[in-house]
Each structure stands twice: as C-alpha cells, then as structure tokens.
Subunit: 92 residues, 4 copies
C-alpha cells in the first residue's frame, strides 16, 4: 500500500480519531451515558470510516489500477477516473 506513503500521517491520524470515537462509545455504554449521545458518536464513527474507505479505494485505483494516474491518457485510465467520480458519491 505504497500509495498512502505521502499521506500516511494524515491517514493514520484519521484511523486514530475513529478509534478514539469507538472508545468513547465503549465508555459511554459502560458508564450508562445517554443513548442518543452514544448513537451520535457511533454515527460519526461510521462517517469517518466511510470517508477513510473512499480515500483508500481512490488510492488503490490510482496506484494499482491506473497506469498513469498523473497523466491519464489511455481510455482505461480515463475510465478509471470516471469510476472514482462515481464511487465518491457512495462515501461522502
């Protein structure tokens, strides 16, 4: 997963934020926190995870599926960029 190299720090910090939210959910359940607050945190988790998934799938396509992600010229590469656009509507 070399394509995350340059953004690695950012990606890792996103993962840690999601982990932190999961821990808040666990603590909330443990301490009998108000249900709605727990569900909101869990919902934020889910949003964070979807965004992360989208980012990594985009990275996968650019690094591994495309030949020239920086200068897409072949019809395959252009269709891969189209695919990214479509995929993005699923993870926003």
């Amino acid at each position: 997963m070399s394509h995350v190299f340059e953004d690695k720090k950012k990606i890792i910090s996103r993962i840690r934020r999601i982990k932190g939210q999961l821990e808040a959910v666990e603590r909330g359940l443990d301490e009998g926190k108000e249900c709605f607050a727990v569900l909101q945190t869990l919902s934020a988790c889910r949003g964070g995870l979807n965004g992360l998934m989208g980012e990594l799938v985009e990275g996968h396509i650019k690094e591994h599926v495309m030949k020239n992600p920086n200068q897409p010229k072949s019809s395959q590469d252009k269709s891969a960029l189209d695919l990214i656009k479509i995929m993005k509507t699923y993870w926003k």
Copy 2:
C-alpha cells in the same frame, strides 16, 4: 443506555473486535501491507460498525421509544416494531 445492560458484554466485545480490525488496518498501512488485504479489513470494520449501529438503534427504539416493547399493544408500539423491520434492511 440501560437497554444494553444485559447484552453489554456482547456489545463491548463487538466494539473491541472493530477496534482490533482498525488497529490491523493501521498496522497494515504502517508496514506497507498489500493494499487489497488492508481494504478487506477496512470493509469488515465497516460491516461490523453497521451491525452494531443497527443493534443499538433497535435497542433505542425498544427501550426509549416504545412503551411496552415486550407486549406491544398500542398502535404506536406496533408502528415502532414496523420501523425496526424497515431499519434492519439498512444495516444487514
């Protein structure tokens, strides 16, 4: 969030499994693991989180929205059960 009390152990262990998967994703990125394997783990995470969300929303409805979750008689309670059925198709 008293409604999770009886299942609390089970719920907590589900949260920890998801956290463990997130840590595997983090490690995978850190160690340059193969991209597809990392995405599969992240996808499993997302499945786990969706399932957890569904479980807690169902608990919220039964405990806080319904009057008699064990013996639903009012039309409100019955409509709440219908709602749970519809919601479940979103988190399976």
Copy 3:
C-alpha cells in the same frame, strides 16, 4: 399513509422524477450511450430514492410512532425525535 397527505403532491413529483431518471437509464442502455453518463444518472436515482425513503420514514415516525409530533412532551416522543436525527445521517 395519511401523513403524506399535505406533501403528497411534492412526494409524488419526487417519485416521478426518479422514474424519469430510471427511464433515462433504460434509454441510455438501449441506445448504447456512454457508460459513465448512464452510471451518473443511476447514481442520481439512488440519491433521490434515499432522500425519499428518509422523508417517508420520518413521516412514519411522526404520524404513527409518536403521540404528539407537534408538541412532543413524553420521553417516548422525545426519543422518537432523537431517532429521526440519527436516521437522517443515513439518508442525506
């Protein structure tokens, strides 16, 4: 489904818009239209359908699950409003 009565025209016109998009997808496939354009239309369809689902689920909760949707006072009614807020993050 009396709760849609006042918004019925609006809801019906949303359904028709989605149907129109589906017909555009069908025509696009039939006429060998460019793949990306067809996928974009289908994606718009999906967005429209999710929005509609959210609207009707919210209507269901307000009309059938809550006792006083206009002046929620009981803890059940307040928890139902919380539920709507959580649900909305799933259909936006």
Copy 4:
C-alpha cells in the same frame, strides 16, 4: 455501454421491475395504503437499485478499465478485479 449488450435484456427487465415498484409506491401513497407496506416496497426498490448499480459498475470496470477482463494478467487488471470484490460488499 456496450458491455451490457449480452445481458441487456436482463438489465432492462431489472430496471422495469424497479420502475414497477416505484409505481406501486406512487399508487400506495395515492390510495392511502398502509404506511409500512409502502415503506417495504420502497425498501425493495432501493435494494434493486443498489444491485443494478453494482452490476453496471462491475461491467464498467471489466469493459472500460481492464485491458483483458477474460484473461487478466497485468497487475493493473488484477488490481481491478480486487476492486470489484471490494465494491461488491457495498451493493449486496
């Protein structure tokens, strides 16, 4: 969208089934049908649309993004197949 050619009939009939369900939703609203039944039909619509989207995205990848979908040998083509596997967990 030549890749749907051989399955075109099947795809078109799926679109028509979804359209038929949407029409049932419209009729249901119009005739004041029971809310839960309408929501179930709408939910089936959404399932059908997700399945269709997955099918067409897979077709897009195989036809336009891959060079040899039938005999994938290049690392790009293999990574595109991995991508399809990941995507499928989103539309099942």
